[in-house]
Assembly symmetry: C2
Homo-oligomer: 360 residues x 2
DNA sequence: GCAAAAATTTGAATCGATCCAACGAAAGTG
DNA sequence: CACTTTCGTTGGATCGATTCAAATTTTTGC
């Protein structure tokens, strides 16, 4: 009795509407999904019933199961969610992804997690049609986790040679070369490299062994590009210090301390990201080292901030937004193939690079 | 025959695994969702079957329907998706939302659309437990659309007095006052206001009538705060030009052209957003008008960019990230109540404001 | 060795919709 | 008037899982 009078809190379902309007659930469904095929009068009746009962409209959860397609693409990373809104590189990339999604009306689901276990769960339970992977750290693990979902996915910036995963990236060797050649042509002969990670969880000066066994081949390739080109200019590349940073302030500054403690400090710094390069600019400025008069700095990425920092940064620009657009389209128009795309990079010369001191 | 030998492309379901392993659905399900309750040996057998058949794990689509909870919060706006990554205000807000979501492991689904029809569809079909609404333009419409989903939602920056919707915002009147008092105390007596929208689709000088009938009461309140405070300093507020911008470059510059065409141009500009204030800084600089020597500018919002622009902007800072965090928590720990929260603002004095010319 | 208790497993019901083959009624045709 | 079309409606099957009361098996206690 009580339960009857009380009225259950259960949300209204389509079936309730159908019963109230005295039609079958098939017809009730049609009223919402294909209104044109149901008779005017019936349609009105069903809509009235829906209104009266306070029906919220067909629940997407139910629809989804039947339809199979979510119409959203998942963007995953091992960083915290705020990475998508803080990091300049990620932001431009997301803008590119957004553009492609907007064009087709698809949504974006951001997937991330504090710890490994939660990340696995979040990837397993993400309601998406496919994934775009930001492989910053823990790339291989992220790929492995995602592969288990058996959904289409594309890795960004993976820098691994696994041919079984689709990826979009840039020609890192060519980019490295561009940066190195630019500085060498300006007359520089004493270099230092502020590198990104070769593998997880380590910073400091890098040994050839670590380069050889690099997990992140993107990092390795940039270095290869640097060194190949430098040696063409007669630089003894064995003497070029390569400091592995974590792409943040602390490790970059530690690297600079190490590098400039040398008896023969470099006149040119090759930074593997604009982030690191800009941190370097700041550190050099604080130490009273003028850029580019005393030291030149060249970054990598081409984030918008690089154009407005002080001094504006010479950098190797990646087509970041284009990578994002392509990645999104790869998921949206997935054709079942695995493809690796490599896009070109471009040297953007700004004010952070110039001839070495004492050159005239 | 053919169809039998061919083998259907149909993805593997849990039921297939159960059959292959010779157990019931129930047990197969338990192997994945509560492995500890199934006997070691059976568990191994089921897992082996899953492996053999290439099962991707329980499909979240199915689970979702049963569980009811998506564990994701939708963030919706009428702007294009890239707004979330481009706009400084939105980014800080999203960082706050992200923080709260990360803490509980919830995901974020970005919802937006080019046109009204698609927006309605995207909101209706978003797989989320609730919405946070960025009511920039078309706020009332967005609220209406969302209300139909009958899910918890919170409006940000709504600036409307509808007490039936939860909202989080700041005390705009107080903020307006803070900005106006600061300038008045510096000695300014000739003001101009660069306003945000009072209603959709219009820019230009604002009539009292438009203010009275404002849809966006946040805009109205800021203006009220400005004017109330100015009149306390003896300023004839009827003579203060109020130019409605669209919070973008073009309309801001048009506004400045109008304002500075006057015989008695202002010595102080009250801008209702940092975005507009920074555009103003740029325009003034291009015209050779020195800030703050010739003209002072005070913004509103307190976005990070305001601290690093040239000159650094004096502004009324909102606790943007905090608003985001609270909004997210309101959805995550929804308790069925409708609540409107108003947070405080703070004047941040930087270099864009100073005494009026000829004051000493 | 047997009953009671504990641990596993089963299979039907459920979540909320959409799809579709079949059917009934109204309209059109010769 | 019988016969096909056309139009709308019906109700069962399905999407892929989870849940839970009941059935079964294994353990434990004496």
């Amino acid at each position: 009795m009580a339960s009857l009078t009380e009225g259950s809190r259960r949300p209204i379902r389509l079936a309730d509407i159908a019963k109230a309007a005295g039609v079958s659930h098939g017809t009730a469904s049609n009223v919402f999904s294909r209104p044109e095929i149901v008779r005017e009068e019936v349609r009105a009746r069903v809509k009235a019933a829906a209104e009266a009962l306070g029906y919220a409209g067909p629940d997407p959860k139910g629809r989804l199961l039947r339809a199979g397609k979510v119409n959203a693409i998942g963007v995953a990373t091992t960083e915290p969610l705020s990475y998508f809104f803080d990091d300049p590189f990620a932001r431009v990339m997301m803008a590119g992804i957004s553009e492609a999604c907007d064009a087709t009306g698809a949504g974006i689901a951001l997937v991330s997690a504090g710890n490994e276990e939660k990340l696995a769960w979040n990837i397993q339970s993400a309601l998406v049609d496919g994934f775009i992977l930001f492989c910053i750290e823990g790339g291989p693990r992220l790929v492995e986790l995602t592969r288990e979902r058996k959904l289409p996915f594309v890795a960004l910036e993976l820098g691994s040679q696994d041919d079984t995963v689709s990826a979009i990236g840039v020609d890192n060797v060519a980019g490295g070369r561009l940066a190195a050649r630019h500085l060498a042509e300006l007359g520089h002969r004493r270099f230092a490299v502020l590198s990104l990670a070769f593998a997880d969880d380590s910073t400091g000066l890098v040994s050839p062994e670590r380069v050889r066994t690099a997990v992140y081949t993107g990092t390795r390739d940039r270095l290869l590009g640097y060194l190949e080109e430098l040696s063409r200019f007669g630089v003894d590349t064995a003497k070029v210090p390569v400091y592995e940073t974590e792409n943040d302030e602390a490790s970059t500054k530690a690297g600079l301390e190490t590098i400039f403690a040398s008896a023969e400090p470099p006149t040119a710094i090759l930074a593997m990201s604009d982030r690191v390069a800009m941190e370097a600019l700041e550190w050099l400025n604080a130490r009273g080292i003028a850029v580019p008069r005393d030291v030149s700095v060249v970054g990598f990425d081409g984030v918008p901030e690089a154009a407005i920092c002080d001094p504006p940064l010479t950098t190797v620009a990646q087509p970041i937004a284009e990578i994002g657009r392509r990645a999104a389209r790869r998921i949206l128009d997935f054709d079942g193939t695995v493809r690796r795309e490599t896009l070109g990079v471009e040297l953007v010369v700004r004010a952070s690079s110039g001839p070495p001191p004492g050159t005239g």
